[in-house]
């Protein structure tokens, strides 16, 4: 066992042990704070080994892996489990553990008011999530990746439903799970097709064109679900029912990015399927624009960020579709930092005013300087303001997309960049500037160190990550050199323009009515068309089929069996009167029986 493999194993198993311990040692969990301590400690250990691994990768580019047979059939090993250490997994591991650690620390303060049992449960689930995510990240094959993929889905389900007493949270959790589970069937089928073609679950097989397209398309279905691409994005805004730190970690930084990570990971397969990549490019760009438009009309700060996440994931998918693995992955990384920062800052604000609505905030910048600055820095990074990390990664994406598919996706992404800046500007101006809209906002104060600390920590990569692009690329075995061309210039100017426009629209005091364009989008968004299609499908197709089959089961299948019983018993009842109680009838039976026998004896064919 080599050192990097050991780092990876430590990073993997520490949270696992923590989760197991917290699950098994009930008193520890029920007490509350020890659970937090254990979880955070495990995350820190995990983070440490992740960083060590990343450092190691800086010098050593040869991938290493350690696997053990997991499922076998006869002498054939069907599936293996283990760890794989290479640039992709190391980078992702750092991102995941860093954000997770920050979020967990943040949660110590944020979840403070929860009862101890719930508090313990929360951190147990966090530890479990980290384990699951690490399983996914360092998977040596797609099967283990799928396992982690499903596990993070479940932790997502459980964490969205953390406030399970709220019916809306319960619904959102189940909805999230159903939608992603539906999409996961794609991944499962993809695995089946892949295995049938190659006999293993590796991602470096050479496939025929058709198989490659089929496999990658099926994989992409899972990506669409997990990374909330149109039209399976519907679960992500609802998922904001979960605690805000959860949204930060799972539904912004890491779990939703797993879809993108899958494509990055299985890039050798996707590289063989240009058709799939075109679909990704189109759908990614469309989602980016579509989600940005929807983000525009949200007044709930978390929902705005959720649609923004969709939109940014669209960027990544588009980049991957355009063939830029690095672009997608880099944007994933930076996005993880700044979106986690945004969510945590939003969480801090929400914690202060006890409301998600930006209209209930206002003027928070003065009361909560750290929170506000964090949010603003995050927003600027998201808007692609030059110098911040988002700028570099978004630039890389745009560069890759440029010129593809008659530049339509490019244009869409450009427009999205503008819209992004605009809606983030709106949030910043409404929530953090101007006057407090109510008593609570007026008396808001800065959160404690456990909450502000992570914000400050996360601000660092948000600002500087862009400058490490070359290192990042180096670890992936690729090259990256930034040059300020027209693309970045246009994009960043559009971003600035969006901010400026947002200032003019929202930055000068509260408004009663929306601009006409925004109102139009709002009206369209309120139709909830996509959601309604799904609801219609569920109620009028799935449930109808189910009740139809249940009817068949009751009345036809079971009915026939009852009929058999009925037939026998009724025949017996009908035959009873033959036994009349009248002796001559009995004698008649004897005589007729004898006559029957005699007929056989005389006329029968026995000779």
């Amino acid at each position: 066992m080599t050192r990097p493999v050991m780092y990876a194993l430590v990073a993997l198993w520490t949270p696992a042990i923590a989760a197991l311990a917290l699950a098994a040692l009930v008193p520890l969990r029920k007490k509350g704070w020890p659970a937090a301590a254990v979880a955070i400690f495990s995350s820190l250990v995990s983070l440490g080994s992740a960083i060590a691994l990343f450092m190691d990768r800086l010098h050593d580019e040869v991938p290493q892996q350690l696997v053990a047979p997991w499922i076998h059939a006869g002498s054939t090993v069907v599936a293996e489990v283990g760890v794989r250490v290479d640039g992709i997994s190391a980078s992702m591991l750092v991102v995941v553990t860093l954000v997770a650690t920050c979020v967990q620390v943040f949660s110590v303060g944020y979840m403070h008011d929860e009862p101890p049992a719930a508090y313990g449960r929360y951190f147990t689930l966090h530890a479990l999530f980290l384990f699951s995510m690490n399983t996914l990240v360092i998977a040596p094959n797609i099967l283990q990746l799928f396992a982690g993929w499903e596990l993070v889905g479940v932790t997502s389900y459980l964490l969205i439903g953390f406030y399970f007493k709220k019916p809306s949270a319960a619904r959102a959790a189940v909805k999230a799970f159903w939608v992603t589970k539906f999409a996961d069937m794609g991944l499962l089928f993809g695995l089946l097709v892949l295995f049938a073609a190659t006999g293993n679950f590796g991602w470096d097989a050479k496939l025929s064109h058709g198989v490659a397209t089929a496999v990658t398309l099926l994989f992409f279905l899972a990506v669409v679900g997990k990374s909330a691409q149109f039209p399976l994005h519907v679960w992500l805004p609802d998922a904001m029912e979960g605690p805000t730190p959860v949204s930060a970690l799972l539904h912004a930084a890491t779990m939703v990015a797993a879809g993108v990570f899958l494509v990055v990971r299985t890039n050798p397969l996707f590289a063989q399927a240009p058709a799939t990549r075109m679909v990704m490019l189109g759908l990614g760009a469309a989602t980016a624009l579509f989600a940005a438009l929807l983000a525009l009309v949200q007044t709930d700060i978390k929902k705005t960020l959720a649609y923004s996440t969709c939109s940014q994931l669209g960027y990544m998918v588009a980049a991957l579709g355009a063939g830029s693995m690095l672009g997608g992955f880099f944007h994933l990384t930076t996005h993880a930092f700044f979106k986690a920062l945004l969510f945590l800052a939003a969480g801090s604000a929400i914690h202060a005013v006890h409301s998600n609505e930006i209209t209930d905030m206002g003027g928070l910048a003065k009361k909560m300087p750290i929170t506000a600055s964090a949010f603003i820095v995050g927003s600027l990074a998201l808007a692609g303001v030059p110098g911040l990390s988002g700028f570099f990664s978004k630039d890389l994406v745009l560069e890759a997309v440029e010129g593809q598919l008659s530049n339509v996706p490019y244009a869409a992404l450009m427009l999205t960049a503008f819209l992004t800046a605009f809606y983030m500007g709106k949030v910043v101006f409404v929530a953090f500037f101007g006057k407090p809209s109510n008593e609570k906002a007026a008396h808001a104060h800065e959160s404690g160190l456990s909450m502000s600390g992570p914000l400050m920590v996360l601000m660092v990569p948000t600002v500087v990550a862009g400058y490490f692009g070359a290192t990042f690329a180096h670890v992936q075995g690729e090259h990256y050199h930034f040059h300020f061309g027209t693309g970045p210039a246009v994009a960043s100017s559009l971003g600035l323009a969006g901010i400026v426009l947002a200032y003019f629209v929202y930055g000068r005091g509260p408004r009663t009515e929306q601009p006409a364009a925004v109102a139009l989008v709002d009206r369209i968004a309120k139709t909830r068309l996509v959601n309604r299609v799904y609801e219609y499908g569920f109620h009028n197709v799935t449930l109808v089929v189910a009740s139809g089959l249940a009817f068949v089961d009751r009345y036809v299948v079971d009915g026939l069996i009852n009929l058999l019983g009925y037939g026998a018993i009724e025949a017996g009842r009908k035959a009873r009167p033959i036994q009349s109680g009248f002796a001559p009838d009995y004698v008649l039976a004897v005589v007729l029986g004898v006559v029957g026998l005699a007929v056989w004896a005389v006329f029968g064919s026995w000779r």
Partner: protein, 521 residues
């Protein structure tokens, strides 16, 4: 001692049952405790024995090990021949676990507990017997012993909850005043025994065509039956055992039966007994009648695929908790049969693994449902809500069961379902995998719906005043089962290593070219 391990495993519950029957009931609480302790000890001996048996099974060697042979009626070739094969070990352990958990789960049985535990133990002795019998007639004998006590167990201790006869001919049952659990028990018993009748006919043919001198399954498996015979007899075995495995359309005993059975009985029945059916189809039908199996697998697999989807859809429409779980069993047993029908090592491994996985999972489910029912006095999920607030442990384990049932990686359900789907996709009938995977998705819909409406949402209404979390022995049951699910999910080779040699050996017989088989008169 060691050389009679299998007999001890089989006999321990039976002897415990006998002892239980002779414990005086007059002594109040003491005798109640004695009954339970004796049962628990019997179960523990079997459980421990099965663990020893599996640990000492030489997986590299494979084949039959620990052979014990007691002549019962040697003149007619009936021997109580017990031996452990690759499949037997894991299934023995499964039975041991479920029995142990079942005894713990029924600690609070109130009425006529002496008879209850005795019957429960007798039933399990039959199950153990089936898994280790190498003599077809003794196999059948144990099978019947396992099936029959169910009638009494459901009829007496079944839920008083009305399980009405359904369908256009329900009035028939009312004529005889057979409503509720008696109806369910009667239907279950009669349907299963119709299946037994088919098996019996098949056994006759197998025995007589092999020369009429022995029932040894090894010998029968090496006998070359002519094609015509195989094609005629295989469906008898398939449907005969299949009735117990819930093969469509002979599954309708299962929902009613499980819904009205008491907790431990549901656990054993869905957890272990239904596996006997699938085990019989594979061990008797496919291994002894390879050509018939090869001829019929397209039908077997297609019906299994129907089972998966049909069961899942039916489960979705239920509002009674036990019905949901029962239909889900029908659906999951479809996965087992699907794996069997692939005639591949992966598929067979998956099928046997699914037997174990589903056994544990459904055992867990029924244990929990029993707990919920006992405290809530209703099984209508639409009336419940927010139970997680007062019974968080139950909620957690229920969720775990749900996750395993929908095939979540990290639980045992995933391993088996994945193997089966993989094998199905690779077999000649790749389209079988599609309903399989869809079925898993539908499962996700209905189990999570059920979880949500029972456990989530605002706290329980005032109608439920004696809700509480699981208690002492009940924890024992659910923790054992729950941890088995997770352990097997993470490290399936704990049992896969034993299943595999069995599958390889038996599949070799099924797929062997005809000429390679010894020709017997």
């Amino acid at each position: 001692m060691n050389s009679h391990l299998l007999s001890i495993i089989v006999a321990a519950p039976a002897i415990a049952a006998l002892i239980v029957m002779f414990i005086s009931e007059r002594d109040g609480a003491n005798s109640r405790l004695a009954i339970r302790l004796v049962s628990l000890v019997g179960a523990a001996i079997s459980f421990a024995g099965s663990l020893v048996a599996i640990r000492t099974y030489d997986k590299a060697l494979g084949g039959l090990q620990r052979v014990e042979d007691y002549p019962l009626i040697p003149s007619f070739g009936v021997h109580v021949k017990l031996a452990l094969d690759g499949w037997g070990g894991p299934l023995l352990v499964l039975t041991g676990v479920i029995l142990f958990a079942g005894v713990l789960a029924s600690w609070t049985v109130k009425t006529r507990d002496r008879e209850f535990f005795a019957l429960l133990l007798v039933l399990t002795a039959g199950v153990f017997g089936v898994f280790v019998s190498q003599d077809l007639l003794v196999f059948f004998l144990f099978y019947e012993i396992a099936v029959l006590p169910m009638y009494v167990l459901i009829g007496i201790w079944g839920s008083s909850h009305k399980v009405p006869a359904r369908g256009p001919f329900k009035f028939v049952w009312n004529i005889f005043d057979i409503g509720g659990k008696q109806y369910a028990a009667m239907k279950l018993t009669l349907m299963l025994l119709v299946g037994s009748a088919a098996i019996m006919a098949a056994i006759f043919v197998l025995f007589l065509k092999a020369g009429g001198t022995t029932f040894d399954m090894g010998v029968l498996a090496n006998t070359k039956y002519d094609r015509q015979t195989q094609i005629i007899v295989f469906p008898l075995v398939w449907l005969g055992f299949g009735t117990l495995a819930g093969v469509f359309p002979f599954h309708t005993w299962s929902p009613d039966g499980h819904a009205s059975a008491p907790t431990a009985v549901s656990m054993l029945h869905a957890g272990v007994l239904m596996k006997l059916g699938a085990f019989g189809v594979m061990r008797v039908g496919m291994v002894i009648l390879p050509e018939g199996a090869r001829y019929w697998v397209p039908v077997v697999g297609a019906v299994a695929a129907i089972n998966v989807l049909y069961g899942a859809f039916c489960a979705m429409n239920q509002t009674d908790l036990k019905y949901i779980i029962a239909y889900s069993s029908v659906s999951h047993m479809g996965v087992v049969m699907l794996g069997a029908a692939t005639l591949t090592t992966t598929g067979w491994n998956g099928a046997v693994f699914q037997m174990v996985a589903h056994g544990i999972m459904t055992g867990l489910f029924f244990a929990l449902v029993g707990l919920v029912y006992e405290r809530a006095h209703t099984r209508a999920i639409l009336k419940m809500g927010g139970f997680a607030n007062v019974m968080p442990g139950v909620a957690a384990f229920f969720t775990l069961g749900c996750l395993s049932s929908l095939g979540l990686p990290g639980t045992a359900g995933f391993v088996s379902e994945f193997m089966v789907f993989l094998a199905a996709w690779k077999s000649q009938h790749y389209f079988w995998a599609i309903p399989g995977v869809l079925g898993a998705f539908i499962t996700a819909i209905y189990v999570l719906r059920a979880t949500r409406s029972i456990f989530w949402g605002p706290g329980p209404s005032h109608d439920f005043h004696d809700l509480s979390d699981a208690k002492k022995t009940e924890w024992g049951a659910i923790v054992i089962l729950g941890s088995c699910l997770v352990i097997l999910g993470f490290w399936p080779r704990l049992i896969l290593d034993y299943i595999d040699p069995g599958s390889v050996e038996y599949l070799g017989k099924v797929l062997a070219p005809v000429s390679a088989l010894a020709r017997l008169p």
